[in-house]
Symmetry: C2
Subunit: 337 residues, 2 copies
DNA sequence: TTTAGTGGCGACAACTAATGTCGCTTACTG
DNA sequence: CAGTAAGCGACATTAGTTGTCGCCACTAAA
């Protein structure tokens, strides 16, 4: 292939998406950095001809004219998305709706709409839509995720990526809004809430900020105040989010007694690789597996109520005996009222 | 731009990915369908020159020579992925690991690796990797998803897409493996298990098949036996998967009494738009919200054990009173043993 | 208002690439 | 062994691309 065509494709890759823009001079430099030594005039011609075929534009700005992909430009993928990949995107999308904050999903919407379009083309002569053929079901209660401004989200993402400070206006839970300058250290998603973990100004103590509580956020070019040897994993394990993430040091052997339906289910989706199921009679099964000793396990066991009886380990059984007493106390007292 | 370059880009888009291939004649036809009337010889030249610049190949097959993108070809996106999008993909990936079957994720891996690469480039001069800056935490117990052969997954996907029958070898739970010819109707993901919903041979009754239980699957070109007026949603709502998906017809007003921590949490992630929280004293709160009357709600409420007391509606309270009695019976009886 | 600097754009001739055609060769088919 | 389909080299023609130059528009500092 001649240089020209390949260079044009590379030029398309170098162009930024809508809010950003690049001047002809910048592009010229970047291209020459990639081995395309070319006259300024040629690049001008390239861009102009590409603009006829692709959704790219230049702002008429007289000062520093810049070229960019239009905001509504749809993704062009090479090689094209496979139909099976499109179907996977569909599934992931319906699933994520319940678990991920909408602002994260909206970042990925170009990919989802590409998938929709592809599936739509395949079935253009039929009325049945894809959503009628795919369903996802899960055990979790749908909760309403708080809304985050897309702009605030991207400011915070970019600050984290470039390790720079941000100037913010933040609304704490019970107090008046305040101005903070934050050194971002990490992002934690708990259920559907996104938290920014970071330090304030020049201080060393690490704090959390819910992203939906930011009223304003602005990227400074000032670089981060480094907090020596901060580890997000250690921070979370320290219990800052009310429960540690799983930790292989806390293995224990769990033994439960349960009914046929749950035992069947556990046969498909195992608690652990070494799980074993013992059938006592047609309706009573015992399941043994080594699992992590976590809060998540307790929630999961609790969820089944009286359909699961914890047999071992002893300390967990005791917890459940205590909990059952607390529960019966709760309801019997109030029932008398 | 001249035709030539644009045509080459379109040619790249028309090429399929590795297992599939397209002959020069097919491409010629498809291109002419898109307005590129061109000599066969030119296309041959195009493909050959493109092969120098992109990972495309032709099999030396003498019978029906075909061109295709190499299997390990990495995605080329126009416009390129934004850093913030890459970060979102990272989050989604860590989250999906726990909820989606690995075979679905492996379909999306080109996108994840694109994101990784982009974030890697941004930070190439630093040791800190992205996974150290992003964490997701959720309330659900990690369970081990059953493994599905990638090939079986894609055969079933494609059959569903093209509405054709599949010939399979299937391993039912307790019986010997059997041969089935299935007319696929839909796919349901329950937690981490994927089920294919469909009918057998020429029969009308709808059945479920867990994807990880397929030993073999083969696409026939025979088209589907249409099952008149099948609706996946109705099928699921019929209780075939042990609990219906949420249904706005089953709204009710829920009132619970709970502690400070849970109330705080619900303030961030609401049960419903009209949720209200009443503070009774520093540790006792009442939360009211209209929610769907679903199994998911019960699991969710159960999960908190004695930390949530259900006050209204009365029938739900009665359910919880019964459940607490069943639970205390369970543990007090066995305790005596 | 002038002046220097920057960048866009039209024109043009030299150059390079792309195109269709032809004929030869190879491989598979019946 | 003929017939068909496809790849490939060669070649003249056509079309597109390139660097250069000069002109103009705009901006910012004098």
């Amino acid at each position: 292939m001649n240089d020209a065509c390949f260079r044009k494709i590379q030029t398309l890759r170098l162009l930024p998406k809508a809010p950003a823009r690049k001047s002809v001079s910048t592009l010229l430099e970047e291209l020459s950095g990639r081995g395309f030594v070319i006259d300024r005039r040629s690049l001008q011609r390239d861009l102009k001809s590409l603009a006829n075929l692709f959704p790219i534009e230049n702002d008429g700005n007289k000062d520093i004219p810049g070229w960019y992909w239009r905001r509504d430009a749809q993704k062009l993928e090479l090689p094209e998305m496979e139909p099976t990949v499109a179907l996977s995107f569909q599934m992931v999308k319906t699933h994520l709706k319940k678990f991920m904050p909408p602002s994260v999903l909206s970042e990925l919407s170009p990919y989802f709409s590409n998938a929709d379009k592809l599936l739509g083309n395949l079935k253009q002569n039929e009325l049945s839509s894809w959503s009628d053929k795919v369903a996802t079901i899960n055990r979790s209660q749908p909760l309403i995720a708080p809304k985050i401004e897309n702009e605030i989200l991207s400011v915070i993402y970019l600050a984290l990526l470039s390790e720079t400070q941000i100037k913010t206006h933040y609304q704490p839970k019970l107090e008046e809004p305040r101005d903070y300058t934050i050194n971002p250290l990490g992002i934690v998603i708990v259920d559907q809430v996104i938290y920014l973990v970071g330090t304030l100004w020049k201080y060393q103590d690490v704090r959390q900020f819910a992203l939906h509580r930011f009223i304003k956020a602005e990227n400074t070019q000032t670089s981060n105040i480094q907090t020596s040897s901060f580890s997000l994993k250690d921070y979370i394990d320290g219990g800052q989010f009310h429960f540690p993430i799983e930790d292989s040091n806390k293995k224990m052997v769990l033994k439960i007694r349960t009914n046929k339906w749950i035992a069947n289910h556990l046969e498909e989706v195992k608690l652990s690789e070494n799980q074993s199921i013992l059938k006592l009679d047609d309706e009573i099964y015992e399941v043994t597996a080594s699992v992590d000793n976590t809060q998540q396990l307790r929630w999961w066991l609790n969820g089944f109520g009286a359909d699961i009886e914890v047999l071992e380990p002893t300390f967990l059984r005791q917890e459940f005996i205590n909990a059952s007493q607390a529960l019966s106390k709760l309801y019997s007292i109030n029932q008398k009222e």
